[in-house]
Every structure is written in structure tokens, then in C-alpha cells.
């Protein structure tokens, strides 16, 4: 058996069966993580980005409308859960 392993190693080729087995192990390993889906922190991250952008835009419009009125810093409202 050991001899077989040696020859195959020398050729650097794996049998089809070994490839399939290896592929399964790799997939199982990855699937354990994939099964966790998308953690909330990442959804929040995109939401925060959108909120900031949306706010930036409407903030700008508001500033134009009120022309120097007190639009105040709206920015730091959505940093809960950033850690």
C-alpha cells in the first residue's frame, strides 16, 4: 500500500476516487461556514452605508432649500452595533 502511495505521489496524480473524496471534505468544510448564512453585522453594514448615502443626499437638498438653515449634523445617528 505504501508503495502505491509512493508511486502516485511521484506521478503527482490522484485517482478519481481520491479527488472525489477530497472534494467532499473541502465542500463539507466550507458548508459548515456557509450554513451560517449572512451574519447581521454585514447586512447592517450595507444598511448603514445606504442610510448614510441617502442622508447625505437629502441633507444636501435640505441645505439647499433652507439655505444656511440649521440642518445640524445628522451623521452620527446610525453607528449602533458597529462593533
Amino acid at each position: 500500500m505504501q508503495g502505491d502511495v509512493q508511486t502516485r505521489k511521484a506521478r503527482g496524480r490522484l485517482s478519481r476516487e481520491a479527488l472525489v473524496k477530497l472534494g467532499k471534505v473541502l465542500e463539507t468544510y466550507f458548508d459548515d461556514v456557509r450554513k451560517e448564512g449572512v451574519p447581521d453585522r454585514f447586512k447592517d453594514l450595507l444598511d448603514q452605508y445606504d442610510a448614510r448615502k441617502a442622508q447625505g443626499q437629502s441633507g444636501q437638498q435640505a441645505a439647499e432649500r433652507t439655505e444656511g438653515g440649521s440642518t445640524g449634523p445628522l451623521e452620527e445617528r446610525h453607528d449602533k452595533g458597529s462593533t
Binding site: 502505491d4 503527482g12 481520491a18 471534505v25 466550507f30 459548515d32 451560517e36 453585522r41 448615502k53 441617502a54
Partner: protein, 183 residues
């Protein structure tokens, strides 16, 4: 501009695989999640350079890989943490299949040279084609192929995955039989 719904969806769709890739690269769930977070932030900041219709997943993997590489280079000068906290934070720790197998696998994976490991993870587990993996790693397709081959051979060796017992004295017979069985 806020993210187009399709862009947002494509980004989130890529997250589970990105995490798997990041955990396999860094061996540490917390670091991996930080990497994914950093990747998404970069992606959003540079969303204008993403071409709609191209592969979002490949784009994100490219960013993550580059981040990991530059961070890795930095950290290497600090502490080498090869065993220890490795993958400990993984929530869905595999009750389904044996823990031993899992541990054995990640240990073996960690023994591969980085180039080979990432090539194998991209092609063998993340579902990218050789061409896509080559683009992500910024190297030739042939290079990726040989890295993947070497990684597979080495891993199989480390995990004693081999079908030596499938090739007994009657190998020629089996070869003939299986040749007949394949399309």
C-alpha cells in the same frame, strides 16, 4: 448614490462564501469576519469601479485576497499563530461529522503554502473556474492549475486520502471495467 438593490443582493449573496474563504485563509473566525467587513467597505467605497454584469463574487474575492495578503505580510512580523485559537469561534462547529476529521483537515490545510491553499480554496471549494481563480490571484491559468494539483496531492497525502486500496493487483481489470462504465 445608494446601492442598487441588485448590487446589494449580489454582495450579500457572496458573503457566506467569502467568510468560508476568509476563515480558511486566516484560520480565525474573528479575523475572517473583520476581513469580510473590510472587503465590503472597500467594495462600497469603490462601487463605481465595479462593472455591472461582471462577477461580483470574483470581484469581492479579489479584494479580500489582497487585503489578506497585505495584512498577512504585516502580521507575519508580529506573532505566528499557527495553532491555538485556530477556527475556534466557528459557531456551527461540526457536530454532524467527526470533530477529529475537521481538526485534521484544517491542520493539513494550514500546512499548505499560501499560494496553493488559496488556489485550492478558490477552485475546489468556492466554485470558481481556473480562469476566474487566475484573475483573482493575478496569475496565469496554468499556474493556478499546477497550484491546485500540488495542493490536492499534498492534502490527500496529509489526510491519507488515497485510494491505494482501489488499485489492487487487479488494477488492469478494474481499469477496463471502469473505462467501460464512463461516458
Amino acid at each position: 448614490m445608494t446601492l442598487a438593490p441588485s448590487v446589494r443582493e449580489a454582495m450579500l449573496d457572496a458573503v457566506p462564501s467569502l467568510r468560508a474563504f476568509a476563515i480558511s485563509l486566516s484560520g480565525n473566525v474573528d479575523r475572517a469576519d473583520d476581513l469580510v467587513q473590510e472587503t465590503l467597505l472597500r467594495a462600497m467605497a469603490n462601487i463605481d469601479s465595479f462593472q455591472p454584469g461582471t462577477n461580483m463574487s470574483a470581484w469581492l474575492f479579489t479584494i479580500l485576497r489582497n487585503l489578506f495578503r497585505s495584512e498577512y505580510r504585516k502580521r507575519r512580523r508580529e506573532v505566528e499563530d499557527t495553532d491555538g485559537s485556530y477556527a475556534e469561534g466557528l459557531k456551527s462547529h461540526p457536530e454532524q461529522h467527526s470533530r477529529v476529521e475537521f481538526e485534521e483537515f484544517r491542520t493539513a490545510l494550514a500546512k499548505l503554502p499560501q499560494d496553493q491553499r488559496e488556489a485550492l480554496l478558490l477552485v475546489g471549494a468556492s466554485g470558481f473556474s481556473y480562469e476566474e481563480a487566475a484573475a483573482i490571484c493575478e496569475c496565469a491559468v496554468g499556474t493556478i492549475k499546477s497550484r491546485v494539483n500540488r495542493a490536492r496531492t499534498r492534502l490527500a497525502e496529509l489526510l491519507s486520502i488515497d485510494s491505494a486500496d482501489d488499485f489492487g493487483p487487479d488494477q488492469p481489470t478494474r481499469a477496463i471495467l471502469s473505462a467501460g462504465g464512463h461516458r
